[in-house]
């Protein structure tokens, strides 16, 4: 049976087809010696030889900074205006299966009781096209968190490299509609997919055990926390590149007479994050903040939102200036 395929040579056409309908096409591209998810206009811009983009594509669903409201301060009045979310039709192309798996949890959080339409409206208009990995490095650990380059969780369309083509598998309805909408670009044929590269599962890590250990609250005051995380410098770089981190701040900016309210990325690793006005800080020490992040990934986020708290993309490991490797902590908690 002939499979749906996408010829690599036809990528340009796909971009045209998407942008022609007013959509934006986001793909990994080279910028300042890094592979970065960015809006692209042509196929030439798209990077092919990469493991992962530096950034997670979350910023196209949940931007680093966005205006949620504007206001003008008059003499006796305040003119307060909500801002419509800017949610263009978006195709995220070339995401990796690991990072796509973050979407379930993100969605759960942003729709938990209160629905954050700044997220959902963008999500509605976004098609995530993942490409199975044919490369990995020593920071990749998707297999350790029960994902793999073959996972399709969170993807709308799943591609695999197959020589000069991709095999195409529409996963969700949205994905199917996308393939249909751009049917002219997709072809069919029988091609053999290139082998996926599976990062080795880290032997000493047992995710179930980690989860169990964290449920037992006695770990909380365990000396192992400060010991393992003493070197953490609280820079928060890990949280900014993490596909599942989504903490934010709300701030006002402007002049004395007008301004805007913004929703900005924030990081649980900052000491001011939980600082009370009184000076009291529930997470005063860096190890407490680190513990919170680790628990968020492996305890309460999966428990609460039944999503993946950690997808094993390894970005935090790569970016950490002091090489505090989350898997080393997972290892400790697998004991």
């Amino acid at each position: 049976m002939a499979d749906k395929i996408l010829k690599k040579a036809d990528l340009g056409k796909l971009i045209e087809s998407v942008t022609g309908k007013g959509g934006r096409f986001v793909a990994p591209t080279t910028d300042s010696r890094q592979i970065v998810f960015k809006k692209v206009k042509s196929a030439e811009e798209i990077a092919t030889d990469y493991i992962l983009a530096r950034n997670s594509f979350k910023e196209f669903l949940f931007p680093q900074t966005e205006v949620v409201a504007e206001f003008t301060l008059g003499k006796d009045t305040v003119d307060m205006r909500g801002v419509e979310v800017h949610a263009p039709q978006t195709v995220i192309f070339g995401a990796r299966p690991c990072e796509a798996a973050s979407l379930k949890g993100m969605h759960a959080l942003f729709t938990w009781d209160f629905i954050d339409e700044f997220y959902t409206k963008r999500e509605d208009n976004t098609v995530v096209v993942t490409v199975g990995c044919t490369k990995a490095d020593d920071a990749c650990f998707c297999t350790t968190v029960n994902l793999s380059p073959a996972s399709t969780e969170g993807a709308d369309v799943y591609l695999r490299e197959a020589g000069e083509s991709y095999t195409v598998e529409a996963i969700t309805d949205k994905g199917k509609k996308f393939v249909e909408a751009h049917a002219a670009v997709f072809g069919s044929g029988s091609v053999k997919a290139d082998p996926l590269v599976m990062p080795e599962k880290i032997a000493n890590i047992d995710l179930a055990k980690v989860s169990e250990r964290l449920k037992d609250k006695t770990h909380y005051d365990d000396k192992v926390w400060p010991k393992l995380t003493r070197k953490c410098i609280g820079c928060g770089a890990c949280t900014f590149v993490c596909p599942t981190c989504r903490c934010f701040d709300i701030v006002d900016e402007g002049t004395a007479f007008e301004g805007e309210r913004r929703k900005n990325w924030d990081s649980c690793q900052y000491d001011t994050f939980t600082l009370h006005a009184s000076g009291h800080n529930p997470r005063e020490h860096q190890h407490q903040r680190w513990r919170n992040r680790f628990m968020c990934k492996f305890n309460f986020f999966p428990e609460k939102f039944s999503g993946k708290g950690c997808v094993g993309c390894g970005r935090c490991v790569r970016v950490c200036p002091v090489r505090l490797d989350i898997t080393e902590v997972m290892e400790e908690f697998s004991k």
Partner: protein, 657 residues
């Protein structure tokens, strides 16, 4: 919202001619927080001020803007008026729409001036919203002064303060007060004897009940600030009990050892137990410990044996005393540039080349020669004397760039003294310019030249050498254009007036500034000539630079009047524009401490209940801080702010731009 009133002044037609004051008021009325606006002919007039007070009361205003002339003009006026209506005076801000708008933008359509006035007033309004009510700083004043230096300037300052009814401590490094003036023979231009006019003052200082003399003493440490200084004084051991000593002089008489007298500048000897000069105040001898065989080798002890009241104690040690004073007058004086630096004039090589000050001693009736001019080498009376002026002065290369100011006058005096004392003697003066500005000074110099026969030669001396027992002085007479060579019996060098050794160390202890010659800096060379940048510390006399006796005395009195003015109230009120530290975020990097021009920032330890130091933070001393704000800009973590010019206030103004 705050309740702000905006008062726009027309200043007659001064503002109203080119600024539409009504429109300014109207526009300001549209801003949040502005509840009252008006424009008026003369805000500073009595009815204007009354109107302002009324409006504050009636509208319950908590802040006001007066858009009028420069704050340098009427800020005080309006703040006082606001205070009269119960408002904190620092809740009143001025917008300058006259000097900055109406007077410089002459556009008769009023457009430019009005727009700018509106902008400026708006910025001030936003700034005012961030104002904090401030209170004048009250500093208690300890009504006791210290005068450092017992020369004529210091004595004068001490006497004036004492006569004003306040206690003074007069600290003098030498065993006796009197300073340089005590060495002088006669004084220009009146030719009265220096000792005759100085000694009564010295005695007066000793007898005045309000004056405590600390002679043979030096300031070691100064802490605190205006009104509240703590000064540690080292009272060097005299080995003689001052309380019991009667000044009989038996000990000096009996002392078998003699050394060169510093007071006589090596022209004479003194005993090892000595008073610097006969009229010393206090008249208590001191033992020159390094030269005393009893102290060094435990031999002799003759002085102790003859001492009636048994007041000699060879084991006596230095004492450190701490004094709390409210003000300090620094009058540490000058010294002459060491003559050794002038080899080309033969000093050190030729015995009869002496300094001007040595000449004073030769001419002094209490000096080594009893007032006869005799040359040091052989005691002969010199028949010709060459005086060389500007030795070291006005000569950046070899000495100092400035003019020592007194040399022209004292050299003229020397020629006079010489001609009076050595009949038929010929004096020559090499000079660059004659500087004789001062009451009866020019006449004095003229007299020396025209009536006393001094030969003035305009030019530099190039060489001084000995030939056949004579001193040959070669030089140029630039007026005639000839090279001249003079055979002299003695040469007198008018060496430059320089700051005292250790002047810089003392300045650092006091926290006052000094120039590159280590003369102390006055706060303002014209308007604050006896103040220093450190409030409560005043200057008098030649520690600031060369000056003559009347000037030094005037400064002593001036400094004293400043001290007395400070002491006239129990508390001193200061503008509350001072820095304040945020103790929770201060990083103790001490950049502010380093940057502060006033040493107004200290280090403070924060301790826990057990008394352990938890952390260090900076602390601003309100008594010293002058409110420049250098520390604020230096602080990276923004943990220090300047009241009255806070970051919030400045930002608010920028934000309303």
């Amino acid at each position: 919202m705050p309740r702000i009133g905006v008062f726009v002044c027309q200043c007659g037609n001064n503002i109203a001619a080119t600024v539409d004051t009504k429109k300014v008021a109207e526009e300001m009325g549209k801003l949040p927080g502005v509840v009252y606006t008006c424009d008026y002919k003369f805000m500073c007039s009595s009815p204007g001020q009354e109107m302002l007070r009324q409006a504050i009361k009636e509208n319950k205003l908590d802040g006001i803007i007066v858009s009028a002339c420069s704050p340098h003009m009427h800020e005080k006026t309006f703040r006082k008026a606001a205070e009269g209506a119960g408002l904190n005076p620092y809740q009143c801000e001025i917008t300058n729409i006259r000097e900055q708008c109406s007077w410089v933008h002459h556009d008769k359509t009023k457009a430019a001036g009005t727009v700018k006035s509106i902008d400026l007033t708006r910025m001030t309004i936003q700034r005012l919203k961030k104002n904090q009510p401030l209170k004048k700083i009250k500093i208690p004043v300890k009504k006791k002064a210290m005068v450092i230096g017992g020369g004529i300037a210091g004595i004068q300052a001490a006497l004036d303060i004492a006569e004003g009814g306040r206690e003074v401590i007069l600290v003098e490094k030498e065993p006796s007060i009197g300073g340089n003036m005590a060495r002088l023979s006669e004084t220009f231009p009146t030719m009265d004897c220096s000792q005759c006019i100085l000694t009564p003052k010295m005695v007066e200082a000793e007898l005045n009940e309000n004056i405590t003399l600390y002679t043979y003493s030096e300031v070691e440490k100064v802490d605190g600030y205006i009104g509240n200084f703590t000064v540690t004084v080292r009272r060097k051991s005299k080995y003689v009990d001052e309380e019991r000593c009667t000044g009989c002089g038996e000990c000096i008489e009996k002392c078998p050892f003699k050394v060169d007298s510093q007071f006589e500048l090596g022209l004479n000897k003194r005993k090892v137990i000595y008073t610097p000069f006969p009229q010393s105040v206090p008249n208590v001898p001191v033992i020159d410990a390094p030269n005393c065989t009893k102290i060094q080798k435990d031999k002799c002890g003759a002085c102790a044996i003859v001492c009636g009241p048994k007041c000699i104690d060879f084991k006596m040690e230095d004492k450190l005393v701490t004094e709390e004073v409210g003000a300090i007058v620094v009058a540490t004086g000058y010294q002459n540039m060491p003559n050794e630096r002038f080899g080309e004039y033969g000093y050190g090589r030729i015995k009869d080349v002496i300094s001007g000050m040595q000449f004073e001693r030769l001419a002094s009736s209490s000096g080594p020669t009893g007032g006869e001019i005799r040359r040091p080498s052989d005691g002969k009376i010199p028949q010709s004397v060459v005086f060389i002026q500007c030795v070291g002065s006005r000569d950046e290369k070899k000495g100092v760039s400035y003019c020592s100011k007194i040399c022209c006058m004292y050299t003229a005096k020397h020629t006079k003294l010489y001609s009076h004392k050595v009949h038929g003697g010929q004096s020559y003066v090499f000079y660059m310019d004659i500087r004789s500005g001062g009451k009866r000074y020019e006449e004095f110099v003229r007299g020396a030249i025209e009536h006393e026969g001094a030969m003035y030669l305009r030019g530099r001396v190039s060489r001084v050498y000995e030939k056949n027992g004579k001193i040959m002085v070669q030089g140029a007479d630039t007026l005639s254009g000839n090279q001249v060579e003079i055979e002299a019996d003695m040469v007198v060098l008018a060496t430059a007036v320089v700051s005292r050794d250790g002047a810089d160390t003392l300045a650092q202890r006091l926290g006052i500034g000094y120039d590159k010659y280590k003369f102390y800096n006055e706060y303002h060379p014209k308007l604050k000539p006896v103040e220093t940048v450190t409030a409560g510390i005043y200057l008098a006399g030649t520690c600031m630079g060369p000056m003559d006796i009347p000037e030094s005395v005037a400064q002593g009195s001036a400094a004293a009047s400043k001290v007395l003015a400070l002491f006239s109230a129990d508390e001193m009120a200061r503008e509350p524009i001072t820095s304040v530290v945020n103790r929770t975020t201060c990083n103790a990097c001490w950049d502010c401490v380093t940057a502060c021009p006033y040493t107004a920032i200290e280090r403070e330890a924060i301790k826990d209940r057990q008394g352990n130091v938890v952390r260090w933070v900076a602390k601003v001393n309100d008594g010293v801080c002058q409110g420049c704000g250098v520390c604020v800009a230096a602080c990276r973590s923004k943990s220090i702010d300047l009241k009255g010019y806070t970051d919030e206030q400045v930002f608010a103004a920028i934000n309303a731009f």
